[in-house]
């Protein structure tokens, strides 16, 4: 257990997102991908963002990094990092902010490494561009970095296709922590990996986090993994946060029906075999209200009379 797990609440937030709204603006219609989302991440805290594909969690990650491209537009709200307004940064500030302050590990390591450059060249590139080291110094540091994630430094000369998926993902994580950022964004870091490798990567991240003390924004749809790793978590649905609390509280006592459905979608490894339903096809939640505090530190979007639209035929079918 890390120190932050006990006392994360008292720290100054590293990242503070307030009422963030992101719209995808089309010619004829626009979609609100992220709708008035607020959360903050304390120093050394692991904050989880759970939800299914299309719920807006990756859009949030990209907004924090200011990586959104047209037609996506940040339509409202604020993102502040260590007191600085991320949305007001000019290109030069942004260049320093990225990777040095906030680094990101993308979903698929296979796609985020350049296939025609060796691992070494790609790591050296980070040091020469962002830290201004010489090539020789950069190479030495790149070797250290690979050792940090337990890859043989001889692998600097390997091309991405010569590494296994787990090694590639570890290399990407090494690159992300190269400049000792204070926040690491992990966007589904282990989705494409086997369980054994996944567990090792997660253990590695936890170890690095303990060693280097960065905060983590951890994005995944795997609730079991999230509860294991995160201190605090939020569950997103349709661009809104429907529930946020300490991960253990969400696990032990999910309050929003969508959270309950997500939890019910993961069969347990122990105990008797009980029928699970998950979220029946056709069940939708609409007009999700703002969060209210249901218990100390446990915020849930209340379900009003018009809050959910449920396809009754499907629900009846699932209940049977």
């Amino acid at each position: 257990m890390t120190i932050s797990q006990i006392s994360f609440g008292s720290h100054e937030p590293v990242l503070d997102v307030k009422d963030l709204t992101v719209k995808y603006i089309g010619d004829t219609r626009s979609t609100t991908a992220v709708d008035r989302v607020s959360f903050s991440i304390g120093t050394g805290e692991v904050f989880g963002l759970a939800g299914e594909s299309g719920c807006g969690k990756s859009t949030i990650a990209n907004s924090i990094m200011r990586l959104l491209k047209d037609p996506a537009k940040i339509a409202g709200g604020s993102i502040s990092f260590g007191g600085k307004d991320v949305l007001a940064m000019n290109p030069e500030e942004l260049r320093r902010f990225r990777w040095q302050d906030v680094a990101m590990v993308f979903q698929s390591a296979m796609n985020s490494l350049n296939p025609v450059l060796t691992i070494g060249e790609q790591i050296v590139d980070i040091f020469t561009t962002h830290a201004g080291y010489t090539r020789k110094e950069s190479l030495r540091r790149a070797g250290e970095l690979l050792e940090l994630v337990r890859i043989d430094p001889a692998r600097l000369k390997s091309y991405p296709h010569q590494l296994s998926g787990g090694m590639r993902q570890r290399a990407v994580i090494a690159m992300a922590v190269a400049l000792k950022p204070s926040l690491l964004i992990l966007d589904e870091p282990t989705t494409a990996l086997d369980v054994v490798v996944q567990q090792e990567i997660m253990a590695q991240i936890r170890e690095l986090q303990r060693e280097l003390g960065f905060s983590v924004l951890f994005i995944t749809h795997d609730m079991s993994l999230m509860v294991e790793l995160s201190h605090r978590m939020a569950v997103m649905y349709g661009g809104r946060i429907v529930e946020t609390a300490k991960a253990q509280d969400v696990y032990a006592n999910p309050r929003h029906p969508y959270t309950q459905a997500l939890m019910g979608a993961f069969p347990p490894l122990t105990g008797p075999r009980v029928p699970l339903t998950g979220l029946p096809d056709g069940v939708k939640f609409r007009n999700i209200a703002d969060l209210t505090e249901a218990a100390p530190g446990h915020f849930v979007a209340p379900l009003g009379a018009d809050a959910s639209v449920i396809n009754s035929a499907d629900l009846a079918g699932a209940a049977r």
Binding site: E52, D152, K157, D194, D222, P275
Partner: protein, 369 residues
């Protein structure tokens, strides 16, 4: 225990009195792929001596990491690959002998596959109706008149939990879960005895996965279809399957009733897999020391827990199966003294930090210089 499990192919069908012939029986299946390198004349052994029996109305899960040979097994059984050795029996008939060169239509109507990617397995240019109608037409299951076919189509859609008016939709109008249901309906259209489902839920959103698993269970319960459920997700294998078989480096290392297997894993590889599954209910699940021990035990086996047991002979020469616990659980583990020759190179563990140096680095130095 006097009951011996050393020759599973001969002994197992008799064990279950209600099912005289299993729906699908795989005996000693092997598959090697030639490697076409400049200097290597060898081949990589993807499967070796796989024995697996699926009784009627039984769901068997096959678990293992990527590269362990699960999908190769499915592809061999579905006759998409030609096995190098062994026999595949459906209803007691060796289909490799019956249809020597390629799968016959009769075989296809006995066994169907559901693939991993519902986005890739449905042609985007056709309406849903086309896929199902085509299956019915090819296998002559559509009935005589157009009206009968129409009824059958609607019945299929209802069976998999979709509305009949979706027959006119295109695949892109459907969600991933709905598409996978269509793929299952397409498999069902030919009324197969066995469905091979290769990671049918891994591409789906988490909240609809359970729905697809429940559908598979329902099909088993209502229509008695046997299934081979291939997955890397142990929790879902436990949820769905009656029995679970664990595959490592192209061989089965352990098999048993799902609940028993996952609560008492006997093989170090199974223990490694089970310990790796994230489970919030289990506190402090990661123990690096224990993991290193398990990994060592998997990669370089030295001792067998059954060594010295008078009833269960160990052997370093052949893959003997030891019975674990109560024989009612049909739980066995492969003798750990036995080490398959050099077959363990292609799997995920090989690239992990336990192995310090890999031979590839020399070649790269030359290439990059």
């Amino acid at each position: 225990m006097s009951h011996s499990l050393t020759s599973p192919a001969a002994g197992s069908p008799a064990a279950d009195s209600t099912t005289p012939t299993p729906a699908l029986e795989i005996r000693g299946l092997g598959k090697s792929f030639p490697i076409g390198g400049l200097f290597s004349r060898g081949s990589v052994r993807a499967l070796h001596g796989v024995d697996l029996t699926i009784n009627r109305g039984e769901i068997v899960a096959l678990v293992g990491e990527s590269g362990s040979g699960k999908s190769t097994l499915a592809r061999c059984v579905a006759r998409l690959e030609k096995p190098s050795s062994g026999a595949i029996l459906i209803d007691g008939v060796d289909i490799l002998k019956r249809d020597r060169f390629q799968a016959s239509r009769a075989f296809r109507s006995q066994l169907q596959m559901v693939f991993q990617d519902p986005f890739g397995s449905l042609n985007p240019a056709h309406r849903i109706e086309h896929f199902l109608r085509r299956s019915l037409a090819i296998h002559g299951k559509g009935g005589g008149s157009g009206e009968e076919t129409r009824l059958r189509l609607e019945e299929l859609m209802t069976t998999v939990g979709l509305q009949a008016d979706m027959l006119d939709s295109y695949p892109h109008e459907l969600s991933g879960g709905q598409r996978q249901r269509v793929a299952i309906a397409r498999a069902l259209a030919v009324e197969p005895q066995v469905i091979l489902a290769d990671e049918p839920t891994s591409m789906l959103d988490v909240s609809v996965r359970i729905g697809v698993l429940n559908l598979m269970r329902k099909l088993r319960d209502e229509q008695g279809i046997s299934m081979l459920y291939i997955t890397h997700d142990l929790a879902s294998a436990r949820y769905l399957a009656d029995r679970t078989a664990v595959m490592f480096a192209g061989e089965l290392v352990e098999e048993g009733e799902s609940l028993d297997l996952l609560s008492n894993p006997a093989h170090p590889y199974t223990q490694l897999l089970v310990s790796a599954v994230p489970d919030p209910a289990r506190a402090g699940s990661y123990d690096p020391v224990r993991r290193a021990e398990l990994r060592q035990a998997v990669m370089a086996s030295t001792s067998c827990a059954y060594d010295g047991d008078p009833d269960q002979r160990c052997s370093a020469e052949e893959p003997v199966r030891h019975q674990v616990g109560n024989p009612g659980n049909r739980h066995w583990v492969r003798c750990h003294l036995y080490r398959p020759w050099a077959g363990a190179s292609g799997h995920a563990l090989a690239g992990e930090p336990a192995q310090p140096n890999l031979p590839a680095s020399n070649a790269q130095e030359k290439a990059s210089a």
